[in-house]
């Protein structure tokens, strides 16, 4: 049976008043070209049912209180001019480059997929019985409890491309997903699945403009003793409207680290859902965000949910947002410690640096703990630049604009420190510095 039939035949049921109307979902689905069959057929059927039961979020949904879901609910995005191509911040890094154009894998533009310790296929190449069947839409579905994430379900349902990456060894060369845009109206849905086998290692880089609107899902299964590093960077024109999801499962003694840099955008929502399943595991997720409301508008929302379901695990959330000219920054972060997850060490910090009075940072930190021998802390601050430090720098001859750049970088330092590799941190710092310096005057 073609899946499309299941999806478009009837108007989905609508539950409750807080959900956007069923017609919105129907219109949303109608505007999308639905993939037929493929290795993910079962997952897509399941997603269809889940989405119809769930509906799209309304403005009064608890997890959408600070971000209006309307731009994600709209049937189509507004076209967004395609920017000229710029040098990539990771150009000096030896890496395996995999290119996506308007959300479709471009094998011609990409490096050869065969690399030691790696098995990489694009979704289109994958047939039934593939290893990714056990993960595609599976980590996403598990991540729907207790908080619904309808756009991730939508993604599982309609994603037409993405990479299935299996890591079997310690891979030292980072894999770089490079997104490019060609069609100004592209409404992109991408879904990647990554499985790190026990003891394997991978660094994943992501940069570039995904589409006029983007919806991405990254499902990562980090098996026992494996190590996964993820570094993403989003530029001003990369995604004016975008929602990104990371669903991670972290096994015994494994390490998961994700860092994102976002410099502008219009409406961005990033959901990080991390399930720490094995003992002695480590999971860190961090972001440095810089928003200037003068470039259109700026609204950046990070929504994180970390579940500790094993003993002696460590989690860290470090979120820093620098906001100016009426930019809005949101952070919703939760640590859930399940019964029996003893000796959990959970840490969360979210901080907003407001460069003017019109900007706003809202944080909703949450802890929910069902084990008695745990150490969890969270903190959130919102503040302006330290005038005393600014004067100190200027009294040493540092011009005001440059002094502000230094102070902003110092504010972001904790988040940047989450990038372990010096070269990669340097590349991110370079991008940051460029952005700050070019905008120092405004």
């Amino acid at each position: 049976m073609a899946e499309g039939a299941v999806l478009t035949a009837q108007t989905p049921a609508v539950e409750g008043k807080t959900r956007a109307g069923g017609t919105a979902l129907a219109a949303r689905l109608e505007a999308l070209e639905l993939p037929a069959g493929g290795f993910a057929a079962a997952a897509r059927r399941d997603a269809a049912e889940r989405l119809q039961a769930m509906g799209l979020p309304g403005a009064r949904d608890e997890y959408w209180r600070y971000t209006d879901p309307a731009p994600f609910n709209a049937a189509r995005p507004e076209p967004l001019a395609v920017p000229g191509r710029e040098a990539n911040l990771f150009d000096d890094i030896d890496r395996l480059k995999l290119v996506f154009v308007d959300g479709r894998f471009d094998a011609e533009a990409s490096d050869d997929l065969t690399a030691e310790g790696l098995q990489i296929e694009s979704m289109a190449q994958v047939g039934a019985g593939h290893w990714a069947e056990t993960l595609y839409g599976v980590l996403e579905a598990e991540g729907q409890t207790p908080v619904k994430r309808p756009f991730a379900v939508l993604n599982t349902l309609v994603a037409r491309d993405g990479l299935m990456i299996r890591v079997t060894g310690k891979v030292s060369r980072p894999v770089h997903l490079l997104y490019r845009r060609a069609d100004a109206a592209a409404d992109v849905v991408v879904h990647h699945v990554i499985r790190l086998e026990p003891g394997a290692e991978l660094t994943l880089l992501e940069t570039g403009g995904i589409g006029a609107r983007s919806n991405t899902v990254l499902e990562v299964d980090v098996a026992e003793g494996a190590r996964f590093h993820h570094i993403a960077s989003k530029r001003a024109d990369d995604a004016r409207i975008g929602i990104g999801h990371v669903f991670a499962r972290v096994g015994e003694g494994a390490l998961f680290k994700s860092f994102a840099l976002a410099v502008n955008g219009r409406v961005m929502r990033n959901e990080g859902v991390i399930h720490i399943a094995g003992n002695d595991a480590v999971a860190h997720i961090a972001a440095a965000v810089l928003g200037d409301g003068n470039e259109g508008s700026f609204h950046h929302d990070d929504t994180v949910f970390i579940t500790h379901a094993a003993e002696r695990c460590e989690s860290r959330q470090v979120y820093k947002k620098v906001l100016k000219n009426g930019a809005h920054g949101i952070f919703q972060g939760k640590i859930l410690v399940k019964p029996g997850a003893q000796k959990t060490d959970g840490y969360q910090i979210s901080q907003g640096l407001l460069l003017d009075e019109g900007s706003q940072f809202l944080a909703k930190p949450e802890l929910e703990i069902y084990a008695d021998d745990v150490k969890c802390s969270h903190g959130s601050t919102t503040g302006a630049l330290d005038e005393t430090a600014l004067f100190y720098l200027r009294s040493r001859g540092v011009p005001k604009e440059q002094a502000i750049v230094l102070l902003v970088l110092s504010f972001l330092a904790d988040a940047l420190d989450e990038i372990e590799n010096d070269d990669l941190r340097g590349a991110i710092l370079g991008r940051l510095d460029d952005w700050l310096t070019s905008r120092a005057a405004g």
Binding site: D386, E387, T388, A389, F391, Y392, L393, R394, S395, R396, G397, V398, P399, K400, Q402, A403, L406, L407, L409, S410, F411, L412, A413, D414
Partner: protein, 251 residues
């Protein structure tokens, strides 16, 4: 070099008058000390000279080599050769001490139309100067003043001064919080900088620093004014008798 004329300053917020007509001239090559009771306005004077926000000059002027400082941005004053060693050095988490020093030095060089120093040149100079002040490599790498002891912060101020080579150095209680050995290091650092083209304004409460850094002139400040100016013997008098007699005399 530095000329302060009838300087009146009030706090912008509260309108409270702090400086009530300060007159002071520090010629090139001289070391002047300012002593005075707590709250008399010594730090305020140093902040106003270096351009901190929050003060309003209601009367008078302050010039460096004949040019008024008051309309200049703090960074322009620094580039013109003014330096303030803070009474309370500021902590800047996340900015490495070396980065800070290098940024400052190169910014000043740029403002004066000089070439920036290469990384290697800079490191060589900074290591040398740090060594004489017993500042180790670890301290240079740490974020500016973060977790430094009181004495370490003061030595770090002197290191900055030594690197930036200003012509007019204001030291606001750089001796407070220093142990005897550190005081000597700091004094040696200052004395090494003494030259016919460079002047110092040393704010202190204690005669001891002035044993090491011999002042040419000592000023006594009280309630926002210089109430007495004299030679080094004035500092000894304060040390022995306190301010009582001087204040009575002024009134």
């Amino acid at each position: 070099m530095l000329e302060i004329k009838n300087l009146h300053v009030k706090l912008e917020d509260e309108g409270k008058q702090i400086l009530k007509g300060v007159d002071l001239v520090v010629p090139a090559g001289e070391v002047h000390a300012i002593m005075g009771p707590n709250g008399s306005g010594k730090s305020t004077l140093s902040y106003v000279l270096s351009g901190r926000d929050g003060y309003e000059v209601t009367e008078g002027d302050a010039t460096l080599d004949g040019e008024s400082l008051l309309d200049m941005e703090p960074e322009a004053r620094a580039a013109a050769g003014l330096f303030l060693a803070f009474q309370y050095p500021v902590e800047i988490p996340g900015v490495g001490n070396l980065t800070f020093l290098r940024t400052a030095l190169n910014a000043q060089r740029k403002a004066r139309g000089e070439e920036e120093l290469s990384s290697a040149e800079f490191l060589k100079i900074v290591r040398e100067k740090a060594k004489t002040l017993k500042i180790d490599g670890e301290m240079l790498k740490r974020p500016v003043n973060v977790g430094f002891s009181g004495g370490e912060k003061k030595r770090n101020e002197v290191l900055q001064m030594a690197m930036l080579e200003p012509r007019m150095c204001i030291l606001d209680e750089t001796d407070s919080g220093l142990d005897v050995d550190a005081m000597r290091l700091v004094a040696d650092g200052v004395n090494a900088l003494r030259s016919p083209e460079r002047s110092f304004l040393v704010i202190t409460h204690y005669q001891r620093l002035l044993d090491h850094i011999k002042p040419d002139v000592v000023h006594i400040m009280s309630a926002g004014r210089i109430i007495k100016t004299g030679g080094p013997e004035l500092a000894l008098e304060v040390e022995q008798n306190g301010y009582g007699d001087l204040l009575a005399e002024a009134n």
